[in-house]
């Protein structure tokens, strides 16, 4: 077959690192938000409050893990697992640096999209099985939002795929050796960024879990570690989107020689993570119908146009 499986050690290290980074992001996000809101943020537990994550973990593990009696137990338990598995599987195709990565798949980009669409089930099942009107409303919104933004996400990526001529993420990075794709594909980049936020339902597109309107949306009934999995899943999604942007538009691990490639990758991804947190600090949440019409009436034509123009340019040169 045309793929290489990384060694077991490689897989284990990547899995652990990704999960730990996602957990640390809880602290990073709170510190950065407080920086932009002129507060101090969590700084008590350990140096700079770094151990806050550990404290949160202890808290969430020792909390009562309660399944409401009216819930559909099978789907209720299944839902948080799906989102974790789907997002962690997507990391399998992300090339972190030369030689670092789980598999080199010929269908990497499509695989990520497939996993994103599997992830939508998590949210829907969670809302449906909770038997709670806020949860149901949240998951209805989530379902509509996720399947529509998946479309723009896919179409916005096709420009990059057409330029590099491959669905393989590693080859896409290598194809950017003489120029990052953010320059020819700037519109694609912006659309992917917006769709990525909507896909991982982060603020400002956290309409499925808008606290002020529908409690906590689809995870209203969740507690303990099941809630924790949704929570970490959201941050995993953030890491995934940031590293995908790095890979697809900003040349992945490429950078001047004086730093090792993996460091370049981490730096670039972190810039996008920080940007997502800045978005959360600055931009208010749009209304639900605004989000949908913005997507279908503005982003879809724009991304199709982008694809068309890219194709025309590729054919003419």
């Amino acid at each position: 077959m045309n793929w290489e499986v990384g060694s077991g050690l490689n897989i284990g290290v990547i899995l652990l690192t990704v999960i730990i980074v996602a957990a640390m992001l809880i602290w990073v996000e709170r510190r950065l938000l407080s920086l932009w809101q002129e507060r101090l943020g969590p700084n008590r537990v350990g140096p700079f409050g770094l151990l806050q994550v550990v404290a949160d973990m202890i808290k969430i593990f020792t909390k009562e893990d309660w399944v409401p009696p009216f819930a559909d137990k099978f789907s209720f338990v299944l839902a948080p697992a799906i989102i974790m598995v789907a997002i962690l599987l997507s990391f399998a195709v992300v090339p972190f640096a030369p030689g670092v990565g789980v598999i080199d798949s010929n269908i990497g980009v499509l695989f990520v999209l497939a996993m994103a669409s599997i992830g939508a089930y998590s949210v829907m099942l969670a809302g449906l099985s909770s038997d709670n009107k806020y949860a149901l409303l949240g998951s209805l919104r989530a379902a509509a939002q996720m399947i529509s933004y998946e479309v723009f996400m896919g179409v916005s990526l096709l420009g990059v795929v057409a330029l590099s001529g491959s669905f393989n993420l590693r080859e896409i990075v290598l194809a950017q050796a003489d120029g990052w794709y953010v320059i020819p594909q700037f519109i694609g980049f912006v659309i992917f960024l917006i769709a990525g936020i909507a896909e991982s339902h982060r603020l400002p597109f956290d309409i499925p879990e808008a606290e002020q309107e529908i409690c906590a949306g689809y995870h209203t009934e969740y507690s303990g570690m099941k809630f924790g999995m949704f929570f970490v899943g959201e941050y995993l999604g953030l890491v995934l989107i940031s590293s995908l942007i790095t890979v697809l538009f900003f040349g992945g691990w490429m950078g001047p020689e004086f730093l090792p490639p993996i460091i370049w990758f981490v730096i670039k991804s972190f810039i996008f993570i920080a940007f997502f947190i800045l978005l959360r600090a600055a931009i208010p949440r749009p209304r639900y119908d605004q989000l949908m019409s913005y997507g279908w009436l503005f982003l879809l034509p724009l991304s199709l146009l982008n694809l068309l123009v890219t194709g025309a340019i590729i054919l003419s040169t």
Binding site: S34, L35, W36, Q37, E38, L40, L279, A282, I283, F298
Partner: protein, 179 residues
């Protein structure tokens, strides 16, 4: 469409930039238990009962504060000593109900009850949130240093007869025919 793009650029990106600039501003909050924040003198916090400049209790047990209190957390009982002064026999504030609205201070005719800039009054036992007169009464005049209710009121007490108060005329002898 063009307008939407323009709005995005001028409004959203501008917002992002403005919020980003806050990264270089000093934080407004302080490290609380080690570093005390500045409290304005008129902050409405822990309630005290003050004394007048002579060192006597100011409260005359008129119950106006208890009436004004929107959450009914003040309870007191009037008593009278031998020289005619009224005073509260007990004076109880339930701080687990008090909302620090300051209405009691507004209502008090004698400036006895006052709110102070102190908020550190958490307790582990809820019963400890009920403060008695001994806990509330301080040895000072609080915010109003010269005010002495009995020196301006018409009521006679020991050492101050009718007509001896500030800005008060001698009482008119209605039985006398002399001018």
């Amino acid at each position: 469409m063009l307008k939407l793009i323009q709005d995005t650029l001028t409004s959203q990106v501008h917002t992002l930039w403005l919020v980003f600039k806050h990264a270089f501003v000093k934080a407004d909050t302080v490290q609380y238990p080690e570093e005390a924040p500045y409290m304005s003198p008129r902050w409405r916090g822990r309630i005290i009962l003050s004394r007048d400049p002579d060192g006597e209790e100011r409260c005359v047990a008129c119950n106006l504060c208890a009436c004004a209190c929107p959450v009914d957390c003040i309870a007191l009982q009037k008593a009278e000593d031998e020289d005619g002064r009224w005073y509260p026999e007990f004076f109880r504030i339930n701080f687990s109900r008090c909302i620090m609205c300051g209405f009691c201070e507004e209502a008090c005719p004698t400036n006895a009850i006052q709110l102070t800039p102190d908020f550190e009054m958490a307790e582990y036992v809820r019963q400890d949130m009920v403060w008695e007169k001994e806990d509330l009464l301080i040895n000072g005049t609080g915010k109003y240093h010269d005010y002495n209710f009995y020196r301006v009121a018409g009521k006679s007490i020991k050492g101050k007869d009718k007509g001896e108060a500030l800005n008060e005329a001698e009482p008119v002898n209605v039985r006398s025919l002399l001018p």
